[in-house]
Symmetry: C2
Subunit: 259 residues, 2 copies
Protein backbone atom coordinates (compact mmCIF):
# COMPACT_ATOMS: atom_id res chain seq x y z
CA UNK A 1 0.00 0.00 0.00
CA UNK A 2 1.56 3.25 -1.14
CA UNK A 3 0.57 6.16 1.05
CA UNK A 4 1.53 9.73 0.69
CA UNK A 5 1.17 12.28 3.45
CA UNK A 6 1.46 16.01 2.91
CA UNK A 7 1.29 18.51 5.75
CA UNK A 8 1.77 22.24 5.78
CA UNK A 9 4.04 23.83 8.34
CA UNK A 10 2.46 26.52 10.49
CA UNK A 11 4.40 29.04 12.53
CA UNK A 12 6.89 30.29 9.97
CA UNK A 13 7.45 34.00 10.66
CA UNK A 14 7.45 36.73 8.00
CA UNK A 15 10.68 36.15 6.05
CA UNK A 16 13.07 39.07 5.49
CA UNK A 17 16.16 39.55 3.31
CA UNK A 18 19.14 37.77 4.84
CA UNK A 19 17.05 35.40 6.93
CA UNK A 20 18.31 31.83 7.33
CA UNK A 21 15.24 30.14 5.84
CA UNK A 22 16.40 26.62 6.75
CA UNK A 23 16.79 27.67 10.39
CA UNK A 24 13.30 29.23 10.39
CA UNK A 25 11.90 25.97 8.98
CA UNK A 26 13.69 23.89 11.60
CA UNK A 27 12.44 26.16 14.38
CA UNK A 28 8.86 25.92 13.07
CA UNK A 29 9.23 22.14 12.76
CA UNK A 30 10.28 21.79 16.38
CA UNK A 31 6.73 22.39 17.54
CA UNK A 32 5.78 19.54 15.21
CA UNK A 33 7.94 16.55 14.48
CA UNK A 34 11.55 16.33 13.36
CA UNK A 35 12.43 16.16 9.69
CA UNK A 36 13.04 12.62 8.44
CA UNK A 37 15.36 11.27 5.78
CA UNK A 38 13.38 10.72 2.61
CA UNK A 39 10.92 13.53 3.28
CA UNK A 40 10.56 16.39 0.84
CA UNK A 41 10.48 20.01 1.99
CA UNK A 42 8.42 21.85 -0.61
CA UNK A 43 8.71 25.63 -0.43
CA UNK A 44 6.69 28.28 -2.28
CA UNK A 45 9.36 30.38 -3.97
CA UNK A 46 8.27 33.69 -2.45
CA UNK A 47 9.91 33.05 0.89
CA UNK A 48 13.08 31.88 -0.85
CA UNK A 49 13.08 35.07 -2.93
CA UNK A 50 12.49 37.19 0.17
CA UNK A 51 15.29 35.53 2.13
CA UNK A 52 17.63 36.06 -0.83
CA UNK A 53 16.55 39.68 -1.24
CA UNK A 54 15.18 38.96 -4.73
CA UNK A 55 12.96 42.01 -4.43
CA UNK A 56 12.79 45.18 -6.52
CA UNK A 57 11.46 48.55 -5.36
CA UNK A 58 9.45 50.23 -8.11
CA UNK A 59 10.84 53.60 -7.04
CA UNK A 60 14.31 52.40 -8.06
CA UNK A 61 13.27 51.34 -11.61
CA UNK A 62 13.84 53.46 -14.74
CA UNK A 63 11.55 52.12 -17.48
CA UNK A 64 13.02 51.81 -20.97
CA UNK A 65 11.22 52.96 -24.12
CA UNK A 66 10.18 49.34 -24.79
CA UNK A 67 8.76 49.03 -21.28
CA UNK A 68 6.82 52.28 -21.67
CA UNK A 69 5.35 51.18 -25.02
CA UNK A 70 4.37 47.74 -23.68
CA UNK A 71 2.95 49.27 -20.52
CA UNK A 72 0.79 51.65 -22.52
CA UNK A 73 -0.48 48.79 -24.72
CA UNK A 74 -1.19 46.49 -21.78
CA UNK A 75 -2.37 49.10 -19.28
CA UNK A 76 0.44 48.33 -16.85
CA UNK A 77 2.88 50.34 -14.72
CA UNK A 78 5.94 50.91 -16.99
CA UNK A 79 8.26 50.27 -14.06
CA UNK A 80 6.64 46.89 -13.35
CA UNK A 81 6.92 46.02 -17.05
CA UNK A 82 10.62 46.92 -16.90
CA UNK A 83 11.12 44.54 -13.97
CA UNK A 84 9.41 41.77 -15.95
CA UNK A 85 11.59 42.46 -19.01
CA UNK A 86 14.72 42.46 -16.83
CA UNK A 87 13.81 38.94 -15.71
CA UNK A 88 13.23 37.68 -19.27
CA UNK A 89 15.31 36.38 -22.12
CA UNK A 90 12.28 36.44 -24.44
CA UNK A 91 8.84 38.03 -24.48
CA UNK A 92 6.66 35.19 -25.79
CA UNK A 93 3.38 37.10 -25.94
CA UNK A 94 1.72 40.23 -24.58
CA UNK A 95 -2.06 40.34 -24.28
CA UNK A 96 -4.87 41.04 -21.82
CA UNK A 97 -2.46 42.89 -19.51
CA UNK A 98 -0.28 39.80 -19.16
CA UNK A 99 3.25 39.35 -20.45
CA UNK A 100 4.11 35.70 -21.12
CA UNK A 101 7.88 35.49 -20.85
CA UNK A 102 10.71 33.04 -21.05
CA UNK A 103 12.77 33.87 -17.97
CA UNK A 104 16.56 33.82 -17.89
CA UNK A 105 16.26 30.38 -16.29
CA UNK A 106 14.15 29.22 -19.26
CA UNK A 107 10.76 29.04 -17.51
CA UNK A 108 7.79 30.17 -19.59
CA UNK A 109 5.28 31.87 -17.33
CA UNK A 110 3.15 34.97 -16.84
CA UNK A 111 5.07 38.15 -16.00
CA UNK A 112 8.35 36.20 -15.72
CA UNK A 113 7.23 35.07 -12.27
CA UNK A 114 7.31 38.65 -10.97
CA UNK A 115 4.77 39.04 -8.24
CA UNK A 116 3.33 42.01 -6.42
CA UNK A 117 1.28 40.36 -3.73
CA UNK A 118 2.28 39.80 -0.15
CA UNK A 119 5.89 40.87 -0.52
CA UNK A 120 6.91 43.77 1.63
CA UNK A 121 7.76 43.08 5.24
CA UNK A 122 6.75 46.50 6.52
CA UNK A 123 3.27 47.93 6.47
CA UNK A 124 4.24 51.22 4.84
CA UNK A 125 5.77 49.55 1.80
CA UNK A 126 2.82 47.17 1.60
CA UNK A 127 0.39 50.07 1.61
CA UNK A 128 2.30 51.69 -1.23
CA UNK A 129 2.42 48.36 -3.11
CA UNK A 130 5.75 49.55 -4.40
CA UNK A 131 7.76 46.35 -4.07
CA UNK A 132 7.91 43.48 -6.53
CA UNK A 133 9.24 40.04 -5.79
CA UNK A 134 11.15 38.19 -8.50
CA UNK A 135 12.14 34.54 -8.87
CA UNK A 136 15.36 33.40 -7.19
CA UNK A 137 18.33 33.91 -9.52
CA UNK A 138 19.18 30.18 -9.51
CA UNK A 139 16.42 28.18 -7.80
CA UNK A 140 18.29 24.85 -8.10
CA UNK A 141 21.23 26.43 -6.27
CA UNK A 142 18.82 27.85 -3.69
CA UNK A 143 17.40 24.35 -3.15
CA UNK A 144 20.89 22.91 -2.73
CA UNK A 145 21.84 25.58 -0.20
CA UNK A 146 18.67 25.11 1.84
CA UNK A 147 19.13 21.34 1.74
CA UNK A 148 22.74 21.58 2.95
CA UNK A 149 21.70 23.87 5.78
CA UNK A 150 18.78 21.61 6.80
CA UNK A 151 21.21 18.68 6.91
CA UNK A 152 23.64 20.73 8.99
CA UNK A 153 20.93 21.74 11.47
CA UNK A 154 19.05 18.45 11.79
CA UNK A 155 21.27 15.63 10.57
CA UNK A 156 18.44 14.55 8.27
CA UNK A 157 18.86 14.67 4.53
CA UNK A 158 15.50 15.58 2.98
CA UNK A 159 14.92 16.66 -0.59
CA UNK A 160 14.14 20.33 -1.15
CA UNK A 161 11.75 21.56 -3.82
CA UNK A 162 10.98 25.19 -4.69
CA UNK A 163 7.76 25.91 -6.58
CA UNK A 164 5.79 28.62 -8.31
CA UNK A 165 2.25 28.64 -9.75
CA UNK A 166 2.32 28.65 -13.55
CA UNK A 167 -0.50 28.90 -16.07
CA UNK A 168 -0.63 26.21 -18.73
CA UNK A 169 -1.39 25.92 -22.41
CA UNK A 170 -4.81 24.50 -23.34
CA UNK A 171 -6.18 24.41 -19.79
CA UNK A 172 -7.63 26.95 -17.38
CA UNK A 173 -6.11 27.72 -14.01
CA UNK A 174 -2.64 27.43 -12.60
CA UNK A 175 -0.76 24.53 -11.08
CA UNK A 176 2.37 24.68 -9.01
CA UNK A 177 5.47 23.41 -10.80
CA UNK A 178 9.03 22.86 -9.61
CA UNK A 179 11.40 25.74 -10.36
CA UNK A 180 14.22 24.34 -8.22
CA UNK A 181 15.05 21.08 -6.49
CA UNK A 182 17.88 19.23 -4.78
CA UNK A 183 18.08 15.61 -3.68
CA UNK A 184 15.11 14.74 -5.86
CA UNK A 185 14.72 12.86 -9.15
CA UNK A 186 12.68 15.41 -11.13
CA UNK A 187 11.64 12.96 -13.85
CA UNK A 188 10.88 9.24 -13.66
CA UNK A 189 11.64 7.53 -16.92
CA UNK A 190 9.53 4.51 -17.83
CA UNK A 191 10.05 4.90 -21.56
CA UNK A 192 10.88 1.55 -23.08
CA UNK A 193 10.07 -0.33 -19.89
CA UNK A 194 7.25 -2.83 -19.83
CA UNK A 195 4.11 -2.85 -17.77
CA UNK A 196 2.86 -5.59 -15.44
CA UNK A 197 1.70 -7.66 -18.42
CA UNK A 198 5.04 -7.43 -20.23
CA UNK A 199 3.80 -4.92 -22.81
CA UNK A 200 5.92 -1.94 -23.76
CA UNK A 201 4.50 1.16 -22.11
CA UNK A 202 3.42 4.16 -24.13
CA UNK A 203 5.59 7.25 -23.74
CA UNK A 204 5.78 7.41 -19.97
CA UNK A 205 8.12 9.97 -18.60
CA UNK A 206 6.66 11.34 -15.43
CA UNK A 207 7.29 14.91 -14.32
CA UNK A 208 7.59 13.82 -10.70
CA UNK A 209 8.87 17.15 -9.37
CA UNK A 210 5.96 19.03 -10.93
CA UNK A 211 3.45 16.52 -9.54
CA UNK A 212 4.99 16.96 -6.08
CA UNK A 213 4.83 20.75 -6.42
CA UNK A 214 1.14 20.52 -7.36
CA UNK A 215 0.46 18.16 -4.45
CA UNK A 216 2.22 20.41 -1.96
CA UNK A 217 0.18 23.40 -3.06
CA UNK A 218 -3.04 21.51 -2.20
CA UNK A 219 -1.89 21.38 1.42
CA UNK A 220 -1.66 25.16 1.75
CA UNK A 221 -4.56 27.55 1.66
CA UNK A 222 -3.61 30.62 -0.38
CA UNK A 223 -4.49 33.06 2.39
CA UNK A 224 -2.71 31.26 5.20
CA UNK A 225 0.96 32.00 5.52
CA UNK A 226 2.17 28.45 5.05
CA UNK A 227 4.73 28.48 2.29
CA UNK A 228 6.43 25.33 3.58
CA UNK A 229 4.96 21.87 3.17
CA UNK A 230 6.44 18.50 4.17
CA UNK A 231 5.78 15.50 1.91
CA UNK A 232 6.27 11.95 3.24
CA UNK A 233 5.97 8.67 1.38
CA UNK A 234 7.94 9.52 -1.75
CA UNK A 235 11.27 8.19 -0.52
CA UNK A 236 11.72 6.45 -3.87
CA UNK A 237 12.31 9.80 -5.57
CA UNK A 238 14.62 11.23 -2.88
CA UNK A 239 18.31 10.81 -3.72
CA UNK A 240 21.56 11.11 -1.81
CA UNK A 241 23.14 13.15 -4.60
CA UNK A 242 21.82 16.60 -5.49
CA UNK A 243 20.51 15.44 -8.87
CA UNK A 244 19.97 17.45 -12.06
CA UNK A 245 17.59 19.98 -10.48
CA UNK A 246 14.39 21.39 -11.93
CA UNK A 247 16.33 22.68 -14.92
CA UNK A 248 15.99 19.12 -16.27
CA UNK A 249 12.26 19.78 -16.72
CA UNK A 250 12.81 22.51 -19.30
CA UNK A 251 11.80 21.34 -22.76
CA UNK A 252 13.83 22.79 -25.64
CA UNK A 253 11.59 24.55 -28.16
CA UNK A 254 12.72 22.15 -30.93
CA UNK A 255 11.31 19.17 -28.99
CA UNK A 256 8.11 20.91 -27.97
CA UNK A 257 5.06 19.61 -29.83
CA UNK A 258 2.54 21.00 -27.38
CA UNK A 259 2.54 24.72 -27.97
Amino acid sequence: LTALCIRSLPGLPEVRAGDDLAALIVAALEAEEALQNGEIVAIAHKVVSKAEGAVVRLADVQPSAQARTLAAEQDRDPRAVQVVLDQSQELVRAANGVLICRTHHGFVCANAGVDASNTAADAAARAAQDTLIVLPADPDASARRIRARLRELTGASPAVLISDSFGRAWRHGQCDVAIGCAGLAPLEDWRGRTDGAGLKLRATWLAVADAIAASADLARAKDSHEPVVIVSGLERFVTAEEGPGAGALLRPAAEDLFR
Copy 2:
Protein backbone atom coordinates in the same frame (compact mmCIF):
# COMPACT_ATOMS: atom_id res chain seq x y z
CA LEU B 1 -2.55 22.08 10.21
CA THR B 2 -3.69 21.00 6.76
CA ALA B 3 -2.82 17.39 6.05
CA LEU B 4 -3.48 15.46 2.93
CA CYS B 5 -3.34 11.70 2.77
CA ILE B 6 -3.29 9.77 -0.47
CA ARG B 7 -3.39 5.98 -0.59
CA SER B 8 -3.59 3.62 -3.51
CA LEU B 9 -6.11 0.80 -3.46
CA PRO B 10 -4.68 -2.68 -3.94
CA GLY B 11 -6.72 -5.71 -4.88
CA LEU B 12 -8.69 -4.37 -7.82
CA PRO B 13 -9.10 -7.22 -10.32
CA GLU B 14 -8.48 -6.90 -14.07
CA VAL B 15 -11.42 -4.83 -15.32
CA ARG B 16 -13.50 -6.09 -18.27
CA ALA B 17 -16.17 -4.51 -20.46
CA GLY B 18 -19.47 -4.35 -18.60
CA ASP B 19 -17.90 -4.59 -15.15
CA ASP B 20 -19.46 -2.54 -12.36
CA LEU B 21 -16.34 -0.53 -11.53
CA ALA B 22 -17.86 1.09 -8.43
CA ALA B 23 -18.73 -2.34 -7.04
CA LEU B 24 -15.17 -3.57 -7.70
CA ILE B 25 -13.81 -0.51 -5.87
CA VAL B 26 -16.11 -1.05 -2.90
CA ALA B 27 -15.11 -4.74 -2.74
CA ALA B 28 -11.41 -3.83 -2.82
CA LEU B 29 -11.99 -1.16 -0.17
CA GLU B 30 -13.61 -3.63 2.20
CA ALA B 31 -10.25 -5.16 2.99
CA GLU B 32 -9.16 -1.62 3.86
CA GLU B 33 -11.38 1.01 5.38
CA ALA B 34 -14.79 2.26 4.30
CA LEU B 35 -15.12 5.22 2.02
CA GLN B 36 -15.79 8.50 3.86
CA ASN B 37 -17.79 11.55 2.88
CA GLY B 38 -15.39 14.20 1.63
CA GLU B 39 -12.88 11.72 0.25
CA ILE B 40 -11.96 11.74 -3.40
CA VAL B 41 -11.80 8.54 -5.44
CA ALA B 42 -9.24 9.23 -8.18
CA ILE B 43 -9.29 6.71 -11.02
CA ALA B 44 -6.83 6.30 -13.89
CA HIS B 45 -9.06 6.45 -16.96
CA LYS B 46 -7.97 3.11 -18.38
CA VAL B 47 -10.14 1.05 -16.05
CA VAL B 48 -13.09 3.35 -16.72
CA SER B 49 -12.55 2.92 -20.46
CA LYS B 50 -12.26 -0.85 -20.06
CA ALA B 51 -15.44 -1.10 -17.98
CA GLU B 52 -17.27 1.00 -20.59
CA GLY B 53 -15.89 -1.08 -23.45
CA ALA B 54 -14.07 1.96 -24.88
CA VAL B 55 -11.68 -0.35 -26.69
CA VAL B 56 -10.97 -0.79 -30.41
CA ARG B 57 -9.59 -3.92 -32.08
CA LEU B 58 -7.08 -2.99 -34.77
CA ALA B 59 -8.36 -5.88 -36.90
CA ASP B 60 -11.72 -4.07 -37.15
CA VAL B 61 -10.25 -0.77 -38.38
CA GLN B 62 -10.19 0.35 -42.03
CA PRO B 63 -7.61 3.14 -42.38
CA SER B 64 -8.58 6.10 -44.55
CA ALA B 65 -6.27 7.67 -47.13
CA GLN B 66 -5.40 10.43 -44.59
CA ALA B 67 -4.55 7.82 -41.97
CA ARG B 68 -2.34 5.92 -44.42
CA THR B 69 -0.47 9.09 -45.42
CA LEU B 70 0.04 10.20 -41.81
CA ALA B 71 1.08 6.70 -40.79
CA ALA B 72 3.71 6.58 -43.54
CA GLU B 73 5.07 10.00 -42.52
CA GLN B 74 5.15 9.17 -38.82
CA ASP B 75 6.13 5.49 -39.07
CA ARG B 76 2.94 4.30 -37.39
CA ASP B 77 0.39 1.58 -37.98
CA PRO B 78 -2.25 3.14 -40.30
CA ARG B 79 -5.03 1.45 -38.33
CA ALA B 80 -3.78 2.95 -35.05
CA VAL B 81 -3.57 6.36 -36.73
CA GLN B 82 -7.18 5.94 -37.89
CA VAL B 83 -8.28 5.23 -34.32
CA VAL B 84 -6.50 8.40 -33.18
CA LEU B 85 -8.15 10.46 -35.94
CA ASP B 86 -11.56 9.00 -35.06
CA GLN B 87 -11.09 10.32 -31.52
CA SER B 88 -10.08 13.80 -32.68
CA GLN B 89 -11.83 16.97 -33.77
CA GLU B 90 -8.48 18.51 -34.82
CA LEU B 91 -4.97 17.30 -35.55
CA VAL B 92 -2.83 19.97 -33.85
CA ARG B 93 0.57 18.65 -34.91
CA ALA B 94 2.24 15.49 -36.21
CA ALA B 95 5.94 14.94 -35.54
CA ASN B 96 8.39 12.42 -34.11
CA GLY B 97 5.82 9.65 -34.47
CA VAL B 98 3.38 11.48 -32.21
CA LEU B 99 0.06 12.99 -33.20
CA ILE B 100 -0.96 15.89 -30.95
CA CYS B 101 -4.73 16.06 -31.19
CA ARG B 102 -7.69 17.95 -29.85
CA THR B 103 -10.12 15.21 -28.88
CA HIS B 104 -13.87 15.45 -29.36
CA HIS B 105 -14.05 16.38 -25.66
CA GLY B 106 -11.63 19.25 -26.30
CA PHE B 107 -8.55 17.80 -24.59
CA VAL B 108 -5.22 18.48 -26.31
CA CYS B 109 -2.95 15.49 -25.82
CA ALA B 110 -0.71 12.99 -27.56
CA ASN B 111 -2.49 10.45 -29.77
CA ALA B 112 -5.90 11.70 -28.60
CA GLY B 113 -5.38 9.71 -25.41
CA VAL B 114 -5.39 6.43 -27.35
CA ASP B 115 -3.27 3.92 -25.55
CA ALA B 116 -1.90 0.51 -26.45
CA SER B 117 -0.41 -0.62 -23.18
CA ASN B 118 -1.94 -2.91 -20.66
CA THR B 119 -5.37 -3.12 -22.25
CA ALA B 120 -6.42 -6.56 -23.29
CA ALA B 121 -7.80 -8.88 -20.67
CA ASP B 122 -6.69 -12.09 -22.33
CA ALA B 123 -3.12 -13.15 -22.97
CA ALA B 124 -3.62 -13.93 -26.66
CA ALA B 125 -4.86 -10.44 -27.48
CA ARG B 126 -2.09 -8.94 -25.36
CA ALA B 127 0.54 -10.91 -27.23
CA ALA B 128 -0.85 -9.66 -30.53
CA GLN B 129 -1.00 -6.10 -29.16
CA ASP B 130 -4.03 -5.68 -31.36
CA THR B 131 -6.28 -3.76 -29.02
CA LEU B 132 -6.28 -0.01 -28.37
CA ILE B 133 -7.96 1.69 -25.48
CA VAL B 134 -9.58 5.08 -26.04
CA LEU B 135 -10.78 7.76 -23.62
CA PRO B 136 -14.28 7.40 -22.18
CA ALA B 137 -16.83 9.09 -24.48
CA ASP B 138 -17.93 11.51 -21.72
CA PRO B 139 -15.61 11.28 -18.70
CA ASP B 140 -17.65 13.76 -16.63
CA ALA B 141 -20.72 11.56 -17.13
CA SER B 142 -18.61 8.49 -16.25
CA ALA B 143 -17.54 10.21 -13.03
CA ARG B 144 -21.14 11.07 -12.17
CA ARG B 145 -22.27 7.49 -12.79
CA ILE B 146 -19.48 5.99 -10.67
CA ARG B 147 -20.20 8.50 -7.92
CA ALA B 148 -23.92 7.69 -7.89
CA ARG B 149 -23.15 3.97 -7.72
CA LEU B 150 -20.58 4.43 -4.91
CA ARG B 151 -23.20 6.37 -2.96
CA GLU B 152 -25.77 3.65 -3.59
CA LEU B 153 -23.38 0.92 -2.42
CA THR B 154 -21.80 2.64 0.58
CA GLY B 155 -24.04 5.51 1.65
CA ALA B 156 -20.97 7.77 1.48
CA SER B 157 -20.80 10.60 -1.03
CA PRO B 158 -17.21 10.95 -2.17
CA ALA B 159 -16.03 12.98 -5.15
CA VAL B 160 -14.91 11.01 -8.19
CA LEU B 161 -12.07 12.12 -10.46
CA ILE B 162 -10.92 10.42 -13.67
CA SER B 163 -7.41 11.20 -14.92
CA ASP B 164 -5.01 10.66 -17.79
CA SER B 165 -1.31 11.50 -18.17
CA PHE B 166 -0.82 14.44 -20.56
CA GLY B 167 2.35 16.02 -21.91
CA ARG B 168 2.67 19.77 -21.47
CA ALA B 169 3.94 22.72 -23.44
CA TRP B 170 7.36 24.10 -22.42
CA ARG B 171 8.17 21.33 -19.94
CA HIS B 172 9.42 17.76 -20.17
CA GLY B 173 7.50 14.79 -18.91
CA GLN B 174 3.84 14.12 -18.31
CA CYS B 175 1.56 14.93 -15.42
CA ASP B 176 -1.84 13.46 -14.71
CA VAL B 177 -4.71 15.86 -15.29
CA ALA B 178 -8.43 15.54 -14.67
CA ILE B 179 -10.46 14.46 -17.69
CA GLY B 180 -13.64 13.90 -15.70
CA CYS B 181 -14.97 14.69 -12.24
CA ALA B 182 -18.14 14.77 -10.18
CA GLY B 183 -18.75 16.25 -6.74
CA LEU B 184 -15.56 18.26 -7.00
CA ALA B 185 -14.83 21.95 -7.53
CA PRO B 186 -12.34 21.72 -10.44
CA LEU B 187 -11.08 25.29 -10.09
CA GLU B 188 -10.63 27.47 -7.01
CA ASP B 189 -11.01 31.11 -7.83
CA TRP B 190 -9.00 33.58 -5.75
CA ARG B 191 -8.94 36.24 -8.44
CA GLY B 192 -9.77 39.60 -6.93
CA ARG B 193 -9.56 38.31 -3.37
CA THR B 194 -6.96 39.66 -0.98
CA ASP B 195 -4.15 37.88 0.76
CA GLY B 196 -3.49 37.75 4.50
CA ALA B 197 -2.01 41.27 4.39
CA GLY B 198 -5.02 42.75 2.60
CA LEU B 199 -3.25 43.05 -0.75
CA LYS B 200 -4.98 42.01 -3.92
CA LEU B 201 -3.64 38.67 -5.08
CA ARG B 202 -2.07 38.25 -8.48
CA ALA B 203 -4.06 36.12 -10.93
CA THR B 204 -4.78 33.13 -8.75
CA TRP B 205 -7.09 30.61 -10.22
CA LEU B 206 -6.04 27.18 -9.08
CA ALA B 207 -6.59 24.11 -11.23
CA VAL B 208 -7.50 22.04 -8.18
CA ALA B 209 -8.71 18.98 -10.10
CA ASP B 210 -5.47 18.78 -12.09
CA ALA B 211 -3.39 19.13 -8.92
CA ILE B 212 -5.39 16.30 -7.32
CA ALA B 213 -4.91 14.14 -10.42
CA ALA B 214 -1.15 14.75 -10.30
CA SER B 215 -1.06 13.97 -6.57
CA ALA B 216 -3.01 10.75 -7.00
CA ASP B 217 -0.62 9.56 -9.67
CA LEU B 218 2.29 9.87 -7.22
CA ALA B 219 0.62 7.25 -5.02
CA ARG B 220 0.60 4.62 -7.75
CA ALA B 221 3.65 2.97 -9.21
CA LYS B 222 3.24 2.67 -12.96
CA ASP B 223 3.86 -1.08 -13.00
CA SER B 224 1.55 -1.96 -10.14
CA HIS B 225 -2.07 -2.44 -11.06
CA GLU B 226 -3.42 0.24 -8.78
CA PRO B 227 -5.55 2.53 -10.92
CA VAL B 228 -7.64 3.66 -7.95
CA VAL B 229 -6.38 6.09 -5.33
CA ILE B 230 -8.22 7.56 -2.33
CA VAL B 231 -7.46 11.16 -1.35
CA SER B 232 -8.38 12.43 2.13
CA GLY B 233 -8.03 15.92 3.54
CA LEU B 234 -9.46 17.93 0.64
CA GLU B 235 -13.03 18.06 1.93
CA ARG B 236 -13.09 21.79 1.12
CA PHE B 237 -13.19 20.98 -2.61
CA VAL B 238 -15.77 18.18 -2.37
CA THR B 239 -19.30 19.35 -3.12
CA ALA B 240 -22.78 17.90 -2.63
CA GLU B 241 -23.78 18.85 -6.19
CA GLU B 242 -22.10 17.25 -9.21
CA GLY B 243 -20.38 20.50 -10.21
CA PRO B 244 -19.24 21.64 -13.66
CA GLY B 245 -16.95 18.65 -14.26
CA ALA B 246 -13.48 18.64 -15.77
CA GLY B 247 -14.86 20.25 -18.91
CA ALA B 248 -14.58 23.53 -16.97
CA LEU B 249 -10.78 23.19 -17.20
CA LEU B 250 -10.75 23.49 -21.00
CA ARG B 251 -9.35 26.82 -22.09
CA PRO B 252 -10.81 28.27 -25.30
CA ALA B 253 -8.12 28.97 -27.90
CA ALA B 254 -8.99 32.68 -27.93
CA GLU B 255 -8.08 32.98 -24.22
CA ASP B 256 -4.95 30.87 -24.45
CA LEU B 257 -1.75 32.91 -24.15
CA PHE B 258 0.47 29.97 -23.31
CA ARG B 259 0.79 28.09 -26.57
